[in-house]
Symmetry: C2
Subunit: 401 residues, 2 copies
């Protein structure tokens, strides 16, 4: 058999707190505004990707979750991403004649998510980040993550932010070739490791429109959108970075909630209007404001991507306060036992019963019916090396469906 | 018994097609933007009001739907409205000494809606329009409706538009005393009598926030709101008036839908966000766009006020096209038999079955579950004299609960 190279990596999901919505260039995935996200812990949500290259391979191939994805394999965005990575390898080979010219070989890629793709949890972001980081490792590139983020961005815009851990900004840039549209670290995981997240996965409704076509409809038709991208977001971008640097949770939370609402407002202002939040999402919004009002300060923030799932951000120090509501209301969902023992869960319930006695609440206990599971996680690191090799020596997936 | 004067009148509901949302002066009900509405036919939706004044009455009293409303009787807005009307009478009395000085007498007012107040159908607009028109008649004022609209506006902003039939604009004005914030006729009923309306009354959810406090929250907190009132609405106001003058339904419909969406977008952009549309409202939005796409042109428009009810506007010539969908999907609701005979209803169903065969549709037939009734109506006249006297000779309601 011919010589082969193999690399494996894991990459995280990120959930934006300042939303990416709108492209100024659809081919290069150049956004109309900068965005910010929190990278989530890979022990809860991750994509694992292995890549192999071999002189005898006859084409680039890609397997997602055990099945070959011919459509993505032949897509413009994957082709573009691989071409960009190979170009970097080629430049390296040109400088160092001792290097094997693997830039001309085909690549097999095997990728698996440890969470349901259908859950609407930014799987394409983690997927393209893993792919770019993995192939960069395979091709032994020396580029830093910011440089690679410009390539990942072309696969899936928000993928660029999954190349960093902690708190990440995607600077929109202004150049037409996209060379300044890149991800940078706002603060590493270690800066604010107390940041936790609780994902309330909503029962899958039919999605209104894909985010790719949805965002361009907004760009084209929303009268309010220009205000968002030219005034609202630029100011919020600076404020949110500062709130992270200052570890000012109340400000961070308020900006996060406002930006989620602003993004969904421009969706609603599109024509025809786009709806991603449903009645359950609305109930979660109300619940969060009720909880914050109950405690007299902002201990939790909601944010919604292009779907009805709620992501709640909160600090570890307020976990009991928050979970005394959330566990009591969502206890029938799966996802609790892996994080809390029986004693903790009983404590949450007991607190809730005591709080209800205060009679300040009018909670909609039916809210749980619109949700399918809870995912408890926290801020986490960027792509990591892994010993978990998904590809066998023939360059085929070890596990298939 | 002392001398009495009595007057009775009916007034219509109006549903805005360019929304009023936001006050620049909460005491005088001066709006942040101009608005436009269609007045609905009183044979379907109306408020009937009788008023009596008598030198022996000891205070102003008000009965709504058979019950005395002490709160409203003593409210600032009612006091203000009656004081303004009495002032006009007083000026008249000062000029003509032969007039009885009824401006100093107390007034009893009895008012009944022929539709459920709780249905969220702008009952306060019809109510205050009827009250102002009725008391103006009682006091034999000579002012025209535009002049009276400045008084009705102080009772309930949108009430000013219910003083005219047909197509009505509320010009926001710019003076701080409100003397130029008034309703004017854009076009009378006779200009475009083919305009019909179908109200899909949604199952009453708990209202998020009252429109009075909701709109001020938007003014105070929405970043996108300024764009709406300074740029979007002023342009749309002129376009919509033109579309009415030109009887250009497609343009009128598109502007109506966009403005409803824009208004709800600024609600969502408020903090905390305000939601008036629910999942059923969203389904109606989708259905309307599906119907228009099916016919390849805009034959129907939706609009939503501060609640989940949908009001659909359409032209009589497209009634069969529209009802072939709407009746088929909402046939289990009450409200059909009073407007259509069995033959017509069968025709609608038959058309629908044939259309479904085309298989271009993915309709959510469950949509009906979120609705409680349908109200079929059309554009109608402004306040009308009536022989229906609701007050007895003692100045008390003829009918009580």
């Amino acid at each position: 058999m011919s010589e082969t190279y193999t690399a494996s990596i894991t990459a995280p999901v990120n959930i934006a707190t300042l939303k990416y919505w709108g492209k100024r260039d659809t081919s290069l995935n150049l956004p109309t505004n900068s965005s910010i996200s929190v990278t989530l812990d890979q022990s809860d949500l991750k994509t694992t990707t292995s890549a192999m290259t071999c002189s005898s391979f006859t084409k680039d191939r890609l397997w997602l979750n055990g099945e070959e994805d011919l459509q993505l394999s032949e897509s413009k965005r994957l082709t573009q991403v691989l071409a960009n990575l190979r170009l970097k390898r080629k430049e390296k080979e040109a400088k160092d004649a001792s290097l094997t010219k693997i830039s001309s070989w085909f690549i097999h890629i095997v990728s698996i998510n440890n969470f349901p793709t259908a859950a609407g949890l930014a799987s394409s972001a983690a997927g393209f980040a893993a792919l770019v980081a993995c192939v960069a490792k395979l091709l032994q590139l020396d580029d830093d993550m910011t440089e690679l983020s410009k390539i990942a961005r072309q696969g899936s815009g928000s993928a660029c932010r999954s190349l960093f851990g902690g708190f990440v900004a995607w600077e929109m840039g202004e150049k037409s070739d996209g060379s300044d549209s890149k991800a940078v670290e706002v603060a590493p995981l270690e800066h604010w490791p107390q940041m936790k997240a609780c994902v309330l996965v909503a029962c899958a409704d039919k999605k209104d429109v894909s985010s790719t076509s949805g965002m361009q409809l907004t760009v084209k038709t929303s009268d309010l959108f220009q205000k968002r991208i030219t005034e609202v977001v630029p100011e919020r971008f600076e404020q949110m970075k500062k709130s992270i640097m200052d570890r000012d949770f109340e400000l961070f939370a308020e900006l996060t909630m406002k930006d989620s609402n602003s993004f969904h407002a421009t969706c609603l202002d599109s024509y025809p209007p786009i709806f991603y939040m449903n009645d359950t999402s609305r109930k979660v919004v109300r619940l969060v404001h009720t909880i914050n009002a109950f405690y007299g300060r902002t201990i939790v923030a909601y944010t919604f991507d292009a779907g009805p799932n709620a992501v709640l951000y909160y600090l570890e120090e307020n976990e009991e306060k928050l979970m005394s509501f959330i566990y009591a209301m969502f206890k029938d969902l799966s996802g609790w036992e892996s994080k809390y023992n029986g004693e903790q869960l009983s404590k949450f319930l007991k607190n809730f019963e005591e709080q209800k006695l205060l009679d300040t609440l009018s909670l909609d206990m039916d809210i749980v019916k619109g949700c399918s599971r809870v995912i408890l996680t926290r801020v986490g690191p960027g792509p990591l090396d892994t010993d978990d090799v998904l590809i066998n020596q023939e360059g085929l997936p070890k596990f298939t469906k």
